[in-house]
Amino acid sequence: MELGSIRTKIEQELSSVKDLSSLNQFRIAILGRKGLFSELIERLKSLDKEERRNYGREINELKLWAEEKVEELKTHFEMEEKRRKELASWIDVTMPGAIPIVGRSHPLTQTLEEIVKIFTSLGFSVAEGPDIEYDYYNFEALNIPKDHPARDMQDTFYVRPGVVLRTHTSPVQIRTMESHLPPVKIIAPGAVYRCDNDISHTPMFHQVEGLMVDKHIRFSDLKGILTVFIHEMFGEKTPLRFRPSYFPFTEPSAEVDIGCVICQGSGCRVCKNTGWLEILGSGMVHPQVFRIVGYDPEEITGFAFGMGVERIAMLKFGIDDIRQFYYNDMRFLSQF
């Protein structure tokens, strides 16, 4: 057979091969053990030496050519196959994904943790005391005598004579000083209770109490520590001021105001047009309190402070109703 026509025939047949399986059939028919080339090579045996060499070389060339062609097509079909498979697994990436369901902490916990973190970084340890407290620790030892207005039935939940739900976290000050010699550096976060239930009061809320007592603690140190706290909590540019106030268990006492975070000091409803927001109460520990816990007020000085966690959380998150913290509405909790 004329090799030229074989070549043409192969070319024609290859052009009609449309997929891998027919290519495979073709390959077996042409290049297989019993294929066309095997047959041609078989035929060589009948030729003389000279012819066999020439013809054999031509056949070999033609076979190599055919193999190459088949390989080329195979790669092509394989690529096509891959692409087809890929297309078959097409997805619409705009379909919604499966967002993992994770929970969140309560905003009060978040705020409390932030406050605690700042003070522990300043060297304060966390202390605690009971929620149901002796009148003595809640009032008397804090220099709040029996007929002080803060002890009115309206404010304090009584459990039995001499036992109350603590109205502030300040009793932890007393308990800590009673059981530790100075220096004392603690913060005491916790729930406190007052007989109040209206739009701006809940019967339970949270406070963080702080106390730093040592030999040479000054009023200026109180300013220093609380300034650091406020700048950490509300940002370094937050204006703040200390102004005289009154608490029975501190003297001098100071109320700490920050520049209103709502109106930036220009005056609004939240800050009652003053441009300032009360954020915490503080002062130098009253000598009487030191005497009560057995410290010598001539030797030891210190400062204490207390803040409402709800109030700080409200300002930080812009929450306008304190009761939201206790409805535990998912539409609220999922925002933080």
């Binding site: 929970g103 916990t109 340890s125 009584y158 000054r218 009154y246 003297e251 007020p297």
Partner: protein, 793 residues
């Protein structure tokens, strides 16, 4: 304390803007909470000067006035009796708008055209008085808009006076502080006290103060022949601006002087005093007494009373009696100006629940030195407003005491405050508020405290004054010099924080509920009578029945949260709360424990397009608890549930050894119904203190195995009476090469079939098939030896 600036100006000229003054008072510890600008509800009302008043030709009760309103004079028809020529009056011009909203029009009244209206105080919205035309001060200029008239314009400061600063509960007291701010001195108002020489107080009344400790000073003054009437506008207006109510020309004066000087006064109708005498004594028996507000008050021994020899006529310092009250026809007044011991006033006022303006001031202590002065000032004003003649002299009891003296070291002041002030500077600061240096010794000085400062009793009180006067803003912010201590980090905080982190990532939201609940919750949860949880701490004065006690378990709170959220459309919930619970006990404070409650309801999400997520069930909650306890290296046992509020078939008790540390399960339908919940809820509660006590957060490294593991599966029919956990434990015991046993399938037909997957692992060698086969055979042998376990072929 409400402070009209116009009144304050009488004591000290205020040469600064109200805002600036407010700021400076606030920084001195007298917080100005609100600055109230006078607002007028009228428009287009001017000052008029009445030129002539003539009777109306057609109407007997009307008058025709010619009123100068600046550039011209207009005729105005008027019916009031107090209109006189030469008086300055407010004239509402045509188009004016009055307090009630009335618009003034040109009007013909019986043939005479009126071009405006003369107004009463009520018509202008200034007070309730409508008895006549409002007569303005003589210096008002005709034609000026009424709102610009000085005596009407005013700003009122609302000052939050600290509870220890009773001396600032008066205009004069505030003026004293303002003067100190401005570095000025002020004086008490001077007046001429003119008496009728012939008659002395001592002829009319006697005074007997039985207990000079309860009443260290008592002064009685008298005025006769008065005519009780209405106080003039300026006085009434000041009283109103200070938040009180004008009554009559005698009572108003007592209130006015109290507001002005801080000395509460009481006026008795002398004729009503039965025995013409005043006795101040501490009650020694129970009695009832009708106060001038018409209420019967129960008095007990220890109450300080003012008596007339017959019985009480006033509860000292708190409220007068109806029996001696000033009336329209009172002619003779016996005026009490006294200093009562704050202790008596506080205890009686608190017991009776009375908070009067007088008791408020007496409770904090007033100025004993101005008792007589204030009384005389009041008598002077009564005479001015109500006529009569003032009786000469006074009756007085007075236990005089030395002024307090306090020794302070200069160094101590600077040390405590962290400032450096010289003794001279400190002395000068203190002198500005009448705390004067009276001696110097031992690197310090002795200061004398003015009689009105009851809050200054020891050196720290003086240091506070120095800080306040120096200004907190001038005290630096410093870093404390103190020894470094190791932080005490508590195991509790680490356990809490691990727990919370774990639960957040497990999809739980943290809730915070009040520590309160109701005994109804115990009933809802069918808690038995002898259960510890019945021992709740009752609140003596609860806010409501729902908050009558402190909670003894937390799960009830989660039911309320679930109900709340279901009602608002959130159907899939995973909630937890970690907080305190309280158990009452016989002695000492109630016990406080930490408890952790979890609840799940609904499903992971409502829908997902790949397939609907399954509803939560018992094992979703159990898995969460198992995983949590694993963090704390706790190996707990789940036993059949015993809680009465859980479905007994779908609940378990959590045991740590023999101790029950919690429970979990499906909440009974009846319980859910009590909270208005209509879908299945799985709930659990763990005694967190037990978890903290028995658990730990230790982590120990186990070498990673270098050889491959082998997995074998087994299926058995296991009788329902045999807990699977027991079977799993038995499998594990068979060989140390068994590192885990899991359940990968379970179905129930006639019998229960359970399929286990067992993982074999050696740390020394690759396990050979023969070795594993041997163990496998042993597992089958051991299990099938048990009655109720059959190998599934």
């Amino acid at each position: 304390m409400r402070v009209p600036l116009e009144w304050l100006q009488e004591f000290i000229p205020l040469d600064m803007e109200p805002q600036e003054l407010a700021k400076r008072l606030t920084m001195r510890g007298l917080e100005v909470e609100n600055i109230e600008e006078a607002e007028f509800s009228f428009k287009n009302v001017v000052v008029g000067n009445v030129l002539t008043v003539e009777p109306h030709p057609q109407a007997e009760r009307l008058k025709v006035c010619k009123v100068d309103i600046g550039e011209r004079a207009i005729p105005v028809v008027c019916g009031a009796e107090n209109v006189q020529a030469g008086k300055k009056v407010p004239v509402a011009l045509i188009g004016a708008c009055l307090a009630g909203g009335a618009i003034i029009e040109k009007k013909e009244i019986k043939g005479i055209t009126s071009y405006g209206m003369l107004c009463s105080e009520k018509e202008l919205g200034l007070s309730d008085d409508q008895s006549g035309i409002f007569i303005l001060n003589g210096d008002a200029r005709p034609g000026d808009k009424l709102e610009t008239v000085e005596s009407l314009r005013d700003t009122v400061f609302e000052i939050n006076v600290p509870p220890n600063r009773g001396d600032c509960l008066s205009i004069y007291g505030i003026a004293r502080e303002v003067a100190a701010i401005m570095d000025k001195k002020i004086e008490l108002p001077s007046f001429e006290y003119v008496t009728d020489g012939d008659e002395g107080v001592e002829h009319f009344i006697s005074l007997d103060v039985k207990d000079l400790d309860a009443c260290p000073r008592y002064v009685l003054l008298m005025i006769k022949g008065i005519k009780v009437n209405k106080s003039p506008y300026w006085m009434r207006r000041r009283i109103i601006k200070c938040g009180m109510r004008p009554i009559n020309s005698i009572v108003d004066v007592t209130n006015y002087v109290m507001l002005e000087l801080g000395q509460p006064l009481h006026a008795f109708d002398y004729e009503k005093l039965k025995e013409r005498r005043i006795e101040v004594k501490v009650a020694d028996s129970n009695l009832t007494f009708r106060t001038l507000d018409g209420q019967e008050r129960g008095l007990i021994p220890g109450d300080l009373l003012i008596c007339d020899g017959h019985g009480p006529v006033a509860i000292a310092g708190i409220m007068g009696g109806e029996n001696s009250e000033i009336g329209e026809d009172t002619e003779t007044v016996a005026l009490e100006s006294a200093f009562f011991n704050p202790f008596f006033i506080r205890s009686t006022a608190r017991r009776l629940g009375i908070k009067s303006e007088a008791s408020l001031r007496f409770e904090k202590g007033i100025d004993v030195d101005t008792v007589e002065y204030a009384g005389k000032r009041a008598i002077y004003l009564m005479h001015m407003l109500s006529g009569g003649h003032v009786l000469d002299g006074k009756k007085e009891a007075f236990k005089k005491e030395e002024k307090k003296r306090i020794f302070v070291k200069y160094g101590r002041i600077n040390d405590v405050l962290g400032i450096i002030l010289s003794p001279e500077e400190i002395g000068r600061l203190l002198a500005s508020i009448d705390i004067n240096v009276v001696g110097e010794e031992d690197e310090g000085f002795i200061v004398s405290i003015p009689s009105f400062r009851h809050d200054i009793n020891e050196y720290m009180d003086v240091i506070e004054e120095v800080a306040r006067l120096h200004g907190y803003e001038h005290i630096p912010a410093t870093t404390p010099v103190t020894s470094i201590q190791p932080l005490i980090s508590s195991k509790k905080d680490r356990f809490l924080s691990e727990t919370r982190q774990y639960l957040y990532s497990a999809g739980f939201y943290q809730v915070i509920n009040f520590s309160f609940f109701s005994r109804k919750d115990l009933d809802n949860f069918v808690i038995p009578d002898d259960d510890e949880r019945r021992k709740c701490v009752m609140i003596l004065n609860p806010i409501s029945k729902e908050l009558e006690a402190t909670r003894t378990f937390i799960a009830q709170g989660l039911m309320k949260n679930i109900a709340y959220n279901l009602n608002r459309g959130s159907k899939n919930l995973k909630l937890f709360e970690i907080g305190k619970i309280f158990i009452e006990r016989e002695e000492g404070l109630p016990l406080e424990y930490h408890s952790l409650a979890l609840a799940i309801t609904g499903r992971e999400r409502d829908y997902f397009w790949k397939g609907s997520p399954p509803e939560y069930d018992f094992f979703d909650l159990k898995g969460v608890i198992e995983g949590l306890l694993r963090i704390f290296n706790l190996d707990v046992e789940f036993r059949k549930g015993t809680e009465p509020f859980l479905n007994s078939s779908v609940s378990g008790d959590i045991h740590l050894g023999e101790e029950k540390i919690g429970w979990l399960g499906e909440v009974k339908e009846g319980v859910l119904k009590a909270y208005g919940i209509e879908q299945r809820v799985y709930c659990g509660e763990l005694m967190f203190d037990k978890v903290m006590k028995m658990g730990n957060l230790e982590r120990k490294y186990n070498p990673i195995p270098r050889y491959p593991h082998v997995i074998r599966d087994f299926s058995f029919y296991i009788d329902e009476s045999i807990p699977v956990s027991k079977v799993m434990g038995m499998i594990k015991e068979v060989s140390p090469f068994i590192v885990s046993v899991g359940v990968f399938d379970m179905f129930r037909k006639e019998r229960r079939s359970i399929s286990f997957r067992v993982l074999f692992q050696s740390y020394e060698d690759t396990l050979k098939d023969e070795e594993v086969n041997k163990i496998q055979d042993e597992i089958v042998k051991r299990l099938t030896a048990i009655d109720g376990i059959v190998l599934r072929s």
